[in-house]
């Protein structure tokens, strides 16, 4: 079964998502910060990454995404970005998702995400590979 890495510094959100994803038999790995996330990606080579935006810094998630998309070994891993940033900046990122210069991710969702939405989004992105 596909391996999913969740990079998020909120342990409760992580736990909730883990429960949902494991119920569908996905293998779930966890990283509690952007830096740890980058390390874990290299170690376990996940099939999908779920990435939070605000971690060590308000836009750490963007850094991580850019870093991975510029890395030949990992640029093919789809990234699903989860964030509450919409309110903070007033920008709807949905339209920019997929524009490699601006927001180099494959999907974008606003927290909180319903279990069925999370699963369908994960399936969609894994199917893209």
């Amino acid at each position: 079964m596909a391996r999913i890495l969740i990079i998020d510094d909120d342990p409760d959100i992580v736990e909730a998502m883990k429960v949902v994803l494991e119920s569908k038999n996905y293998e779930v790995a966890i990283a509690k910060s952007g830096e740890e996330g980058l390390k874990r990606v290299r170690q376990i080579k996940p099939d999908l990454i779920i990435l939070d935006v605000m971690m060590e810094s308000v836009d750490k998630g963007f850094d991580v995404a850019r870093n991975l998309k510029n890395d030949k070994n990992h640029q093919d891993i789809p990234i699903l970005m989860l964030t509450a940033i919409k309110e903070k900046t007033g920008l709807g990122f949905e339209k920019e998702a997929g524009d490699p210069d601006w927001l180099p991710v494959d999907g974008y969702c606003e927290k909180p995400l319903k279990p069925e939405e999370l699963i369908s989004k994960v399936k969609e992105l894994l199917g893209k590979r």
Partner: protein
Amino acid sequence: MIAKEFDLAKDLIERNYWLIRLRWIAIVGVNVTVLFTSQILKLSLPVFFLYAISACLVIYNLIFCIFLSRIKGKESFVIVNRIANAQISLDLLSLSGLIHFSGGLENPFIFYFIFHMIIAGILLSRRASFLQASFAVLLFCAMVVSEYSGLATHYDLGKFFILNRYNNFIYASGVSFVFISTVYIAVYMATSISQRLREREEILAETNTLLKQQALLKSEYVLRVSHDIKEHLAAIQGCLEPVASGITGELNPRQLDLVQRAVQRTAKLIFFVKALLEITRIKLTKEIKMDYFYFQDVLSEAIAHISSKAKDKNITVNSTVEPSIGRICGAQEYIQETVVNILANAVKYTPGNGKIDITVNDQGNTILIQIKDTGVGIPADELPKIFEEFFRASNVRELEKDGTGLGLSIAKQVIERHNGKIWVESKQGKGSTFSIELPK
């Protein structure tokens, strides 16, 4: 500082225009008076000179008018101040001329100089006002002395006075004393009053800036707090939902009921916090990104957004957009959200089998969007408050318990950020019409 100077210049321009308007009235007054005294009172006046001066008044009033409109937009305080000074000096010259040709010292209109002293006191600095007063006194003395000494012709008012007084030393010096003192006292009083007014205006402006700063601080505080609250709420919702949807194992009916209640309440709270974040975010954004977009697209998407709910209640939604409306400039997402907001309200508060009519008209530089429903309407006494934050009309509160009371205030913020206008007309029980005027 520069902005303040700009404001001062603008303010002074306004007052310059006021002076120009007053002069038009004065010109009419001069001509009527000359006509009246020469034709009806039959005083022998040198009407040619008097009309010539009034012609001069017309000419320089026009020139000032044109000049002021030319410098519009690039006004500097120094230039506008010079114009004001020039206007008053020219007026003093004209007035002296008019008085000289109509009896000099004997003309009771001589005290009209006081008006100019008051005008100077309002328009100019205290120093400039006293300079203008001295100029007036100089002109006055020159006239009195030259007429007294015979250097200049004295134009007699004829029947107005039985005896000539211009060559009576005691009379001439007495009137001169009264005149000069009145002129200076008038300037002193006018400048004192206007100085105090200016000081008060400055204090008001400062208080205003302070209030704005505090409003900004408050908004920042609200943004921070709501954002933190929303993060926790998202986590709560994230933990509750897998339980409610049975992912963690089946619940017995009582457990399920309670968890579902918790999920629903959290969802409502998240919705409220999001609305609060949104309105705060708009308030704090200095500039919202604007671009050209097709208004028709926005409207179609907005209608699509509410169509299923409208269908459930069997509400007909009609829309007509004037074909000449193509692209308009604005923040598309915000505008769309605003239209959705108002349409969603219309659907929510229109009873089943009702009707919603949307018309969009091209008005040249603006478009007018009107959303008319056959809903419950808004009580007349509550209409003025409808766009206030957290306000919900009483009849609507009875109809639906939940609601943030923020939807329309967000709409108002958005439209006003586009320099547009939003308003509502409503009759309780008959329906409401929301109108939005947006620049293209």
